[in-house]
């Protein structure tokens, strides 16, 4: 990746839409795009009792696990031996995305892999650490070889045959929305032709116990945007979109029906973990994304909410939405009511759902919604709807550290 004073950049390209040629996803509701869509249609959520994660909280806290052990995931990923679950999930979804894009003669283009995650190979490190604490000479190094977030990305990129550009972003729960935004900007600047962008995260004891210590996990299935919401359920998975330049888009046999038209990143600058009561950062991110897409709030047909199900997030996000959209609200739902909160993967997974929404006119249900929040004048959509006349879909991802990002996907 080279950038010099001779590298030209036309500022009118700064906000041009970037075509999406393919997508791939794995989550608790399916191992690919088709399976996830089928689960939405059937209203089948992915939460359940802990089955694969080895923790003392089994039987107490529900989570949304990908329904496969590491050996099975390794087989799906086409690798000999299981490595970190984070990397296996990433490879499965990123490969599906590239296959879906079916870009002719990909080797002639400059391709980048921009992947996000929050804890890298922690699922293996936490096993290593017990032996290591007993004696620093103990614990197998193969358990920590993918510990760093960047090593997970690199391991996957090597298997996808992508060498031109690699990057890993980690901004907590907004990580993969930022990866997609960064990828689109790299294309607009003419620095890359193809970017596989999104993120991955596996469930780990580290994150489960971290969120548990914050007391924001619901011991039942989560109820985003419900007045009686009690917290979030953690999930896991990976999701990627394939962003392409206009030159690459012109070579596709099936024209890309969707583009990323807006992206904005802002910081709430309020608290390390809590959102400001008025959702300052969320408001700035949504407003910025609309501005860059050249759209008005009324143009948005559906919002894929961050909607974690915590008291704090849903109130802050809802307040920011009211400030921006009142009095006319688009359809909204939190697909975390199906997948759980997949942290660093959520922006990628929900980007895939948003692209599918644009392509097929889908609005997903916010299941288990019962009682409207007293503070908000709107309620989320509760039914699976097809064939909606959607032109623009907004996807929100907000995280610890006040990191707030919004993406807008538009029909091409």
């Amino acid at each position: 990746m080279r950038i010099t004073s001779a590298t030209t950049f036309e500022s009118r390209a700064a906000n041009a839409p970037v075509a999406i040629a393919g997508m791939g996803v794995i989550s608790a509701i399916g191992r690919n795009v088709a399976e996830c869509l089928a689960s939405f249609e059937k209203g089948e959520a992915g939460m359940g009792a802990i089955t694969y994660l080895d923790t003392v909280h089994r039987g107490q806290l529900p989570v949304a696990e990908v329904k496969a052990d590491n050996e099975t995931l390794a087989r799906w990923a086409g690798v000999q031996k299981p490595v970190s679950r984070t990397a296996l999930l990433s490879l499965i979804a990123a490969r599906e995305a590239l296959e879906c894009a079916a870009i002719p003669d990909r080797a002639r283009w400059r391709t980048g892999f921009i992947s996000a995650n929050t804890v890298g190979g922690m699922d293996r490190t936490e096993n290593f650490y017990a032996s290591f604490l007993d004696d620093p000479r103990h614990g197998g190094l193969r358990d920590v070889v993918l510990h760093e977030c960047g090593s997970v990305t690199e391991w996957v990129a090597n298997r996808l045959g992508i060498t031109h550009f690699h990057s890993t972003i980690s901004t907590a729960c907004s990580s993969s929305a930022n990866a997609i935004g960064f990828g689109a900007r790299m294309i607009r600047h003419g620095l890359l032709d193809i970017v596989v962008a999104g993120g991955t995260d596996a469930l780990t004891r580290f994150t489960l116990n971290g969120f548990n210590s914050l007391m924001i996990l619901d011991s039942h299935f989560c109820k985003p945007f419900d007045n009686d919401r009690m917290g979030l359920n953690l999930g896991e998975g990976a999701g990627y979109v394939v962003l392409v330049s206009d030159a690459v888009a012109a070579t596709l046999s099936r024209s890309a029906g969707c583009a990323l038209s807006g992206f904005a990143n802002a910081n709430d600058a309020y608290h390390q973990t809590a959102s400001s009561p008025d959702g300052r950062g969320s408001w700035l991110a949504m407003k910025g994304a609309l501005q860059r897409a050249g759209l008005e709030p009324a143009d948005i047909g559906y919002i894929n909410l961050h909607g974690t199900g915590t008291q704090n997030n849903d109130l802050a996000e809802g307040t920011a939405i009211r400030r921006l959209f009142d009095p006319v609200y688009p359809a909204m739902s939190s697909t975390k009511s199906f997948t759980g909160h997949t942290l660093g993967a959520s922006g990628g997974i929900e980007a895939v759902f948003s692209v599918l929404s644009v392509l097929n006119g889908l609005v997903y249900p916010n299941i288990r919604f019962h009682t409207p929040m007293t503070e908000l004048p709107f309620t989320p959509n509760v039914e699976f709807r097809k064939g909606q006349p959607l032109r623009h879909v907004l996807s929100n991802s907000f995280g610890f550290g006040g990191n707030c990002s919004s993406l807008i996907f538009s029909r091409k």
Binding site: F9, A14, F132, C149, S167, T168, T171, R185, F206
Partner: protein, 292 residues
């Protein structure tokens, strides 16, 4: 759109070289007590950088860290294992996320602008600078606070030693921040003329070719470079290694860039190439020239 990037100010903390401030003079003692080593290094370097630039608030904050917040991660992990997942306090978990330092800086400054954190091994800092350049060129920001930082802990030293990381290099850590701007200003340190990164070259000749191509794309005669900081790459040009000072860590190029910026500001050199590789995998070069 101006293609030039100006380094308005630069600040560095490099504990190995004793370049370390009195944190109590820079940070509120109450807040300081809760900060791990990487947070205090990062926040203090960022603050010094802004003070020097005379800028209370940048338009954007971008950080790069290869390892992230190791100390807080290690404490939470240890407690989780020894207490068998019961009765855990969230403080270290909250501060274990890789974006903690960027977020803390935003919180202290009340900066609601663009905020991003890159965690890609030996390209973490390079990716952060790249993002900053894109923001400046887009006009999305006129000033970006960009930094590279990593901390060393007893556990990371033990594990990375077993991987052989310190066989040929001394262990290191540090934080360096830069105020990058798309317009020149009085007192600028240097001009960032360009940067390049390349992944895992197969043969040594490929490295030289990449660097020569980079300089050619920049229309720069290698003979006009009066110093290389880092690894030897241009025959006949004096080369000054820097890891003997700050030690080895994934974002050590931030230290090298700070060193180069200072040498240009003080007029010791006119044009410097920083070249580094991390483990022979991540190769990066920055070209710096005089600001005006």
């Amino acid at each position: 759109m101006s293609m030039n990037i100006y380094i308005r100010s630069a600040a560095c903390i490099a504990p190995r070289t004793s370049i370390e401030p009195d944190y109590k003079a820079l940070l509120d003692p109450k807040v300081l007590r809760r900060m791990s080593r990487i947070i205090r290094m990062g926040v203090a370097a960022a603050r010094s950088c802004l003070v020097e630039a005379g800028l209370p608030m940048p338009d954007a904050i971008v950080t790069g860290t290869g390892y992230g917040c190791l100390e807080d991660t290690g404490v939470f992990l240890k407690n989780m294992i020894t207490r068998k997942e019961e009765a855990l306090q969230p403080a270290t978990f909250i501060q274990s996320t890789h974006n903690t330092v960027g977020a803390q800086i935003a919180l202290i400054l009340q900066c609601t602008g663009y905020n991003n954190t890159f965690v890609h091994r030996g390209f973490s800092f390079e990716n952060a600078v790249l993002d900053a350049i894109l923001l400046l060129r887009e006009g999305e920001a006129a000033t970006v606070l960009a930094g590279g930082l990593d901390e060393l802990t007893d556990a990371s030293f033990a594990i990375l030693s077993r991987f052989g990381l310190y066989r040929h290099a001394q262990e290191g850590e540090g934080a360096a921040f830069f105020l990058l701007a798309n317009q020149p200003g009085p007192g600028d340190y240097a001009k960032l003329e360009g940067m390049t990164t390349f992944y895992k070259p197969e043969i040594p000749q490929e490295i030289v070719r990449e660097i020569v191509d980079f300089l050619q794309a920049q229309a720069v005669d290698p003979a006009s470079i009066d110093l290389v900081i880092g690894e030897e790459i241009l025959p006949g040009i004096p080369t000054q290694p820097y890891k003997t000072q700050c030690g080895e860590y994934p974002t050590s190029t931030a230290y090298a860039l700070w060193l180069a910026s200072r040498l240009i500001k003080t007029g010791v050199h006119n044009r410097i190439l920083v070249y580094n590789h991390y483990l022979g995998i991540h190769h990066a070069a920055f070209l710096l020239g005089e600001a005006s």
